[in-house]
């Protein structure tokens, strides 16, 4: 077993070696520009790009011509939300999204607010999931776009986008879904989902960084105002020379995801549940987010009375993320956990474990042992733990904060 152990697959995934192999010929050997219509160099690159487009579309139940290549999910979110908001602004200038969205969505909506659009940021329930009645009530006659993520990046909960899509369709609202964390993790079938725009990323699904896609529905047709202008690539929606090797990589990664999801998901779920069982053996641990409506590879846990950054330092042999952004000057705990109503102390104590294709049982067992030992050690250091052991209710303490 090699240390450190990678348990941060929602930050990024390694490129699958099979994907890397598929990409290599498209750098030095087959280097043509897919937009070159006049010679074989261009034709073979174009054929590779279109084959990849088929593979990306197939994973989400879309048609190839509904896929627009971008640089990643952040660009896809920007193109979808700004593009639709600008195109449909005669219909209305109100955007609906959720407080637990990724910053790529939240900051894009904020930017539209600066341009004069109006925005509503919906609360989630304690389990991290949006209440459908709350969602429905937020859609007004002037609402043009709603944006909700399929799988949350921090807590892994799955939003009910099928039901939300139906509500949007009924009310004539363009519905965008950020699916960066969902591809290859849960089945997506856009033939049966009323989703108009969907953001995709390669590097969360064992493909390379720097490539993503936006699904743009053809029937009923969804229009966008381009954000990047130039040669008119991608039917004018996103200009710029296509990165053949990256696109081939994303195509291969999504093909593998489609083929292997059925066997990979139960394996990863078993490992995640093994991790959960091990962690539940430690006192005063709390899972953040719904355990049922959740992807198989995510576990987000608060270890009460232990601060997240010091815990990460103690478990540096396992690579994880903390909900505490103590490294920034602001000392802000995770906005996602706060939106669940977790108090700040528990938000500061949270760790996100995300497992993946190359995780092993041995690694999980090592992680559990390490956590047990280090949480115990830090609690011996913790005045909060001592007070709780003495029966003091921390909510009754008057803290001397600066």
């Amino acid at each position: 077993m090699k240390l450190p152990i990678y348990l941060d697959y929602s930050a990024t995934t390694p490129v699958d070696p099979r994907v890397a192999q598929a990409m290599i010929p498209w750098l030095a050997e087959k280097f043509g520009n897919p937009a070159s219509r006049s010679h074989a160099f261009g034709w073979e690159a174009d054929a590779a790009v279109e084959a990849a487009r088929e593979n990306v579309a197939a994973l989400i139940g879309a048609e190839a011509r509904e896929i627009v290549w971008t640089s990643g999910a952040t660009e896809s979110d920007n193109l979808a939300i700004k593009g639709a908001a600008h195109f449909y602004q005669d219909k209305g200038r109100h955007i609906v999204t959720v407080k637990t969205e990724h910053k790529a969505v939240l900051d894009t909506v904020r930017e539209l607010e600066r341009e004069g659009f109006e925005a509503t940021y919906l609360d989630v329930r304690e389990n991290g999931i949006v209440d459908l009645d709350v969602f429905r009530a937020a859609l007004k006659p002037g609402t043009s776009v709603a944006s909700v993520m399929l799988v949350n990046n921090e807590i892994g909960v799955i939003q009910p986008v099928a039901e939300m899509g139906a509500i949007c369709r009924e009310k004539g609202v363009i519905f965008h879904v950020d699916a960066a964390q969902a591809t290859g993790k849960i089945g997506i079938d856009l033939k049966n989902l009323s989703v108009d725009l969907m953001s995709l990323s390669a590097h969360k699904t064992y493909g390379p960084k720097g490539i993503g896609a936006l699904y743009v529905r053809r029937k009923p047709r969804v229009r966008l105002e381009a954000q990047m202008h130039g040669g008119g690539h991608e039917r004018g929606m996103r200009s710029g020379t296509l990165a053949t090797h990256q696109i081939v990589g994303m195509g291969e990664a999504f093909r593998l995801a489609r083929e292997e999801m059925a066997t990979e998901t139960p394996r990863v779920r078993a490992l995640r549940d093994r991790l959960l069982a091990g962690i539940q053996g430690i006192d005063a641990t709390y899972v953040n987010g719904d355990m049922e409506q959740r992807v198989a590879h995510n576990l987000n846990v608060s270890f009460a009375y232990v601060e997240g950054e010091s815990l990460m330092m103690a478990i540096k042999d396992i690579a994880v993320s903390s909900g505490s952004a103590c490294t920034s000057a602001s000392l802000e705990p995770s906005y996602v956990l706060r939106a669940l109503g977790r108090d700040d102390e528990l938000a500061h104590s949270s760790i996100r474990f995300t497992l993946g294709r190359f995780s092993t049982e041995e690694e999980i067992d090592y992680a559990v042992q390490l956590l047990r030992a280090k949480v115990g050690k830090l609690r011996e250091l913790s005045p909060l733990w001592e007070m709780v052991q003495e029966g003091i209710d921390l909510n009754t303490v008057r803290w001397v904060a600066r």
């Binding site: 009375y305 232990v306 601060e307 950054e309 010091s310 330092m313 505490s324 103590c326 490294t327 920034s328 000057a329 000392l331 705990p333 108090d343 700040d344 102390e345 500061h348 011996e380 250091l381 913790s382 005045p383 909060l384 733990w385 001592e386 921390l394 803290w399 001397v400 904060a401 600066r402």
Partner: protein, 128 residues
């Protein structure tokens, strides 16, 4: 976040961890910070009849720099009178541990903990 070797040393081998009994003669406690801010430090001092700090203990909930700052001050206050202890400044702690700017608040909290412990001692034993 990369830590200095001194922070890592204090974090991995914290000095004087623990608690004195509250009713032990000469013991005073300073507790500063708040869970919601991500840092709570408890510093206890044990003062001899001659007014010199004989021993110190700490417990800290916080990041590595907070733990290191409080571990360090338990070493520094020992052998000092209360007035000498009060001359320890956050800048000295930050310099000793080579804290980066975003972690300066940890050293400030450690200085506050000394002040709080001394104030508790004066309140308990000298009626100030």
């Amino acid at each position: 976040m990369t830590y200095s070797s001194k922070v890592l040393d204090h974090y991995e081998n914290p000095r004087n961890v623990g608690s004195f009994a509250q009713d032990e003669e000469g013991v005073a406690t300073g507790m500063v910070g708040a869970p919601a801010c991500g840092d709570v430090m408890k510093l206890q001092i044990k003062v001899g009849k001659d007014g010199v700090i004989e021993d110190a203990r700490f417990k800290t909930y916080g990041c590595g720099s907070a733990i290191a700052s409080s571990s360090l001050v338990t070493e520094w206050v020992k052998g000092k009178t209360l007035d000498e202890a009060l001359t320890i400044k956050n800048a000295q702690i930050a310099e000793e541990l080579a804290l980066p700017p975003v972690k300066i608040h940890c050293s400030v909290l450690a200085e506050d903990a000394i002040r709080a412990a001394v104030a508790d001692y004066k309140k308990k034993y000298t009626g100030e």
